[in-house]
């Protein structure tokens, strides 16, 4: 368990380093392609450091507001809050803040850089659909992510990959409008550079997506499932919950490519199916998870 935690902290640090290098590269190419020169690199580095700092301290808030989650307390959602508190006691963790996403699609995620600053968000569909055992199973799964520091890694990955995509898009657009083009360069050279930039950017977004997939290995879901079973001492609770979530065809409207890996079950259901795409799945197949829980 403690190995898990320190390896997650290490991976989070590595993720930030990769992100800074990536943004620096973008800035360098951008500077070379325009008459900004090294200013592009400097600017990119500043942006990268600010982004890393910001996402370490604020990624939970960014992700929560991106997912349109609203905070709830004992007065508004006593059932949910009581259940979260009970499980936090069982896990020996501080009680995480509780959030609700108003959406009929059943799902949940956890976020926060450490257990002291953690939050769990569930959809209103989840609360409505699950009985107490099943809800406990889902919440215990999320608490396991918090305890293992998966949330730090997952949330950082979501925010950083999201911002790489944003920066690339912004740059592409600035080329589109022809702003800051180097005047003294021949059109042939400029064309070549632009081609390279476009190519780099075209490669970048999938890399950012891949980064998320690699950083959040699918095995972490199995681990969290197993910890949830340990915590509730009742594996069928989570197994039934996963089955119910799998049977629901609603997509979660506020989820997107950047945040999909945070959820307990992929919220963008049915977008990918079979074949090569299985390699890029953020979650292991549901049937497999249910089967493992039932074997416990």
């Amino acid at each position: 368990m403690y190995d898990q935690i320190s390896s997650n902290k290490l991976r989070s640090a590595a993720l930030i380093v990769v992100f800074v290098l990536l943004v620096a590269l973008i800035g360098f190419v951008f500077g070379q392609a325009t008459d900004w020169g090294y200013l592009g690199l400097v600017l990119a580095l500043v942006v990268a450091f600010v982004m890393s700092w910001g996402s370490y301290w604020y990624s939970d808030k960014i992700v929560l507001s991106m997912s349109r989650a609203r905070p709830v307390d004992r007065d508004t959602e006593p059932y949910l809050v009581n259940t979260v508190e009970g499980l936090a006691i069982a896990a020996g963790l501080p009680v995480p803040r509780a959030y609700v996403i108003d959406d009929p699609s059943p799902n949940a995620f956890a976020t926060g850089r450490n257990p002291e600053n953690a939050a769990i968000a569930v959809t209103s569909g989840l609360v409505a659909m699950m009985n107490r055992q099943e809800l406990e199973g889902v919440l215990a799964h999320e608490l396991a992510h918090i305890k293992n520091y998966d949330t730090l890694l997952q949330t950082l990955a979501a925010v950083l990959a999201g911002s790489v995509t944003l920066i690339s898009e912004w740059m592409l657009r600035s080329f589109w409008w022809g702003g800051g083009r180097r005047r003294d360069s021949s059109s042939g050279q400029l064309g070549a550079i632009l081609m390279i930039v476009a190519l780099v950017l075209a490669i970048l977004s999938p890399i950012a997506a891949m980064l998320i997939q690699m950083a959040i290995s699918r095995r972490r879901e199995y681990l969290a499932d197993a910890s949830a079973a340990m915590l509730t001492r009742y594996p069928p609770g989570l197994a039934n919950a996963l089955r119910k979530i799998g049977g629901d065809r609603n997509k979660l409207r506020s989820a997107n490519k950047a945040t999909e890996s945070l959820y307990i079950v992929n919220p963008l259901k049915g977008d990918r199916s079979g074949g090569m795409s299985a390699l890029f799945n953020t979650h292991p197949p549901l049937e497999d998870r249910v089967a493992r829980l039932e074997a416990m």
């Binding site: 059932y79 009581n82 508190e85 009970g86 006691i89």
Partner: protein, 187 residues
């Protein structure tokens, strides 16, 4: 005489390493023992919360179900018995009795639609069933903490120090594991 200095140095290093290890083990045992204590207090906190909720519940029910004096009295006396229990075993028994009387109280509430629809009653019912599961979880965490503490005081090399520094084994909670069925929450 050239061999004396490295020898003394090596010996010194060994002493430092051993002292560091002893400090590490000692501190770990203290941390784990405190966690056990803290886990025990968690159970108390939840039990107290339950005792505090019951008079409110009884008052609310009284207003609607005037003929159920007997059940209400049983709840109150079970609560008082649980508060005044002295040994752990006694308390366990009293808590079980209390859970039983609460169940019959909630079953009885089924016959009073007005009571069932009462906001205050619904809230108290949720709070009580929530507190009950928290008690169960607090006991589970206590047992987990006891296990971790006992395991590390019994394993080598900590077992050599545990006796020397007076780390007594901690006692776990005996809970009869009743079949976990969906807790009924009727609204």
């Amino acid at each position: 005489m050239g061999w004396i200095l490295p020898c003394v140095g090596g010996l010194g290093l060994l002493v430092v390493v051993v002292i560091a290890a002893v400090i590490g083990i000692y501190n770990r045992l203290v941390t784990l023992r405190n966690r056990v204590k803290n886990a025990w207090q968690q159970i108390d906190v939840q039990l107290r919360r339950r005792y505090d909720l019951i008079p409110n519940l009884v008052e609310t029910v009284k207003a609607y179900a005037t003929h159920e004096k007997e059940t209400l009295e049983r709840v109150i006396s079970a609560r008082n018995a649980a508060i005044s229990a002295e040994t752990v075993a006694e308390q366990g028994q009293a808590e079980n009795a209390l859970t039983g009387t609460l169940k019959s109280l909630f079953a009885l509430a089924e016959n009073y639609p007005d009571l069932k629809a009462n906001q205050n009653f619904m809230m108290l019912q949720e709070e009580l069933s929530g507190t009950e599961s928290k008690i169960a979880y607090a006991r589970q965490f206590y047992n987990d903490s006891v296990m971790t503490y006992n395991t590390s005081r019994e394993t080598f090399p900590a077992n050599l120090l545990a006796g020397m520094f007076g780390f007594e084994p901690a006692e776990g909670f005996e809970i009869e594991e009743e079949a976990k069925e969906p807790v009924k929450v009727q609204f």
